[in-house]
Amino acid sequence: MADLEIKDLYVRTEEREILRGVNLEINRGEIHALMGPNGSGKSTLANTLLGHPTYEITSGSISFKGEDITEAEPHDRAKAGLFLAFQYPVSIPGVSVANFLRMAINAKREEPIQVKEFRTQLQHAIELLDVDRAFTSRHLNDGFSGGEKKRAEILQMAMLTPDVAILDETDSGLDIDALRTVAEGVQKLHDEQGLGALIITHYQRILHYVRPQFVHILMDGRIVLEGGVELVERLEREGYDQIRQEVGAAAGAVDDGV
């Protein structure tokens, strides 16, 4: 059984159905890329995996490390070792990055983390992501630039050491240097800690720095193509429209066009 197993997942909001039978398996130590055009349901999948209350699972299941978490509370999923780097991180005024990290780390532990141990870990993460020390005393995401928010997400990921992380368009809004830092950070956590990652993107850019072993293409709420890194190149050549036509013709499935 895979560490994270998504089976035939159907998800809807009040208005309409968004995911229509998604199947996906991710293990620790694996890097997956999930690609797809805007509006195909990538963020919906990411949020659903962490239990966002807006998204209703109408059928299918999610299991993590052998446990069915389809109905689990978000914080229990986090404690079990899932992590989501948000596409649009929200600001939390009044609490510093460092204090928030301490709370999040302590939420996972019986005994609160020792001050010294926390400092060492924080220092390590700061260096990995090439951020300023002062950064960690600012209020979380409050007044952060787009790039700072994305770094703060990966900083949290580094500190919380999840087994499987979902990175929702962490690459968008980053300049090339920031993108490289963030991508190398992810690669390093994978190499050193065996992080499993689902990198959501609709560009190819980030995949030049983190090499995925598996690539999935999501369109209209379904995974329509799967393969290795060669899929990224094909996508680069052909574009989503052509792929849509091909899979549409082959499967006759994507018929209600969006």
Partner: protein, 468 residues
């Protein structure tokens, strides 16, 4: 989160509120919906002796009914349920437990405690006494320092606007007098405590503080009660006069506990030439609390920061009227309040900026932020502006918020449970003001009280989320 904003600028009738909202307003327009008025210098003192004032107040007391205030829009603050006949303003001889439990274990310059109708503890740093600082009961001050007291007593406080105000002026006993003479600078706070230790008490608190020219000091007032069953009353009158160049930080921590405690009080801070005051009431509990808080700039060059926070829970009823009054200019004003409500509590905050004719070159800003933590709680925030000068700016803004579910989900996705996430949000909401207390020990007391209230309201907040 929705934003409310409005602005008035004497010359252009248009200004930018600091939170980015732009709006137009006509002078006076806002007053229609409001209930309260500034005292506006209408002091009763005016050369009369204490005995004369007590007698006049006694007459007013006899002829007045218990106050009921009604504002259109279904807001009523009624003290008609206070059973004055069953309450007594008896004396006391010991410091109630709640005082020791609440006051921080930190250095202080002086401490005076009134329980029920008597001062039960007075303590003053001898070095300060030597430099002329006076801290004693107001009763004693009338005997020992008549020359200091006579000039200021009830100088700007009225005695007959309502029955409870009259009761205070007629019947007060004990009371607090603090005088910090010219040029005396004190870092540690003077602590003034009013405590009610049991039901059946009517406490008429009366405080007079005078800061001499260029003095610099802090006042921390604590209004505390044990958790008892039954009724009690605190009708308080507080006046603080800062003379030229004086600087003062005033904090008030009020938590009347879970008893049926009514509080109808008036607090007035008057700031002289080039003086400065930072005033921060933290109103954290009481069955029914009505506070008239007035900060008056009386001489040119004065500046102030008027802060405040409140947290209403269960069935509490809180009615705050905060006035930033400028009698002369140039002067500055900066009013910033934050309040939260849980349970079925009701809170009303009327904030008024009033700029008198001739108070030219006055610049003020009023903001009020509120956060509803229960579907049955209600906060009315009513800012208004009354401007009678043309070379001024006065604007207001604020937010009315509910819990931000996306922020809660964000924190949950990091492993915090819902209650912890809510706590982070609410503490973060109050933190900018709590930090301004600029006193580590007092800040901790306020943070702990807020945390305790949140913990108590946990179920309520839970229900709120699932009900939406």
């Amino acid at each position: 989160m929705s934003e409310i904003g409005d602005a008035l600028n004497g010359s252009a009738a248009e200004a930018d509120a600091a939170d980015g909202t732009t709006a137009k307003a006509k002078a006076g327009r806002h007053r229609e919906a409001t209930l309260y008025h500034a005292l506006h210098g209408a002091g009763a003192g005016d050369g009369r002796t204490l005995e004369e004032l007590r007698a006049a107040a006694r007459d007013a007391y006899d002829s007045l009914e218990l106050p009921v205030w009604r504002r259109s829009g279904f807001w009523t603050t009624s003290l008609a349920d206070v059973d004055l006949d069953s309450l007594s303003s008896a004396g006391a001889d010991s410091v109630p437990e709640v005082v020791a439990r609440t006051l921080p274990d930190a250095p202080f310059a002086g401490r005076i405690v009134q329980s029920a109708g008597a001062v039960v503890h007075v303590e003053l740093d001898p070095a300060l006494a030597e430099r002329g600082v006076v801290l004693c009961s107001l009763q004693d001050a009338f005997g020992d320092h008549p020359e200091l007291v006579a000039e200021w007593y009830s100088k700007r406080l009225t005695i007959d606007r309502n029955k409870l105000e009259a009761a205070n002026a007629a019947f007060w006993e004990g009371g607090v007098f603090l005088h910090v003479p010219q040029d005396v600078v004190v870092q540690a706070p003077f602590q003034i405590v009013y405590a009610i230790d049991r039901a059946g008490i009517a406490q008429y608190g009366r405080t007079l503080v005078v800061g001499g020219a260029n003095s610099d000091f802090r006042v921390h007032e604590y209004d505390l009660a044990e958790d008892f069953d039954g009724q009690a009353l605190h009708a308080g009158a507080f006046e603080l006069y800062l003379q030229d160049g004086a600087r003062c930080r005033v904090a008030q921590l009020q938590d009347w506990g879970s008893g049926e405690v009514y509080d109808a009080s008036t607090r007035l801070v008057s700031i002289g030439r080039d003086a400065y005051c930072h005033w921060l009431p933290a109103l954290l509990g009481g069955h029914l609390v009505r506070q008239h808080l007035e900060l008056v700039v009386t001489e040119p060059g004065a500046d102030m920061a008027f802060r405040g926070l409140f947290f209403a829970e269960e069935h509490e009823h809180l009615d705050v009227f905060a006035v930033d009054l400028h009698e002369t200019g140039p002067s500055g004003g900066d009013v910033h309040w934050r309040g939260a409500a849980t349970g079925e509590s009701r809170a009303s905050f009327e904030g008024l900026i009033q700029i008198d004719p001739g108070a030219q070159r006055t610049h003020t800003y009023l903001q009020i932020h509120s956060m509803m933590l229960s579907p049955r709680a209600r906060i009315d925030a009513i800012p208004s502006v009354l401007v009678s000068a043309d070379d001024v700016s006065a604007s207001h803004g604020g937010t009315v918020g509910e819990l931000d579910e996306s922020a809660i989900f964000y924190m949950q996705s990091r492993g915090l449970d819902r209650a912890a996430a809510v706590r982070v949000i609410v503490e973060g909401f109050f933190e900018p003001l709590v930090a301004e207390l600029d006193d580590e020990a007092l800040e901790e007391v306020v943070r702990e009280k807020v945390a305790a209230k949140l913990a108590a309201a946990r179920e309520d907040i839970e229900t709120y989320a699932t009900s939406r």
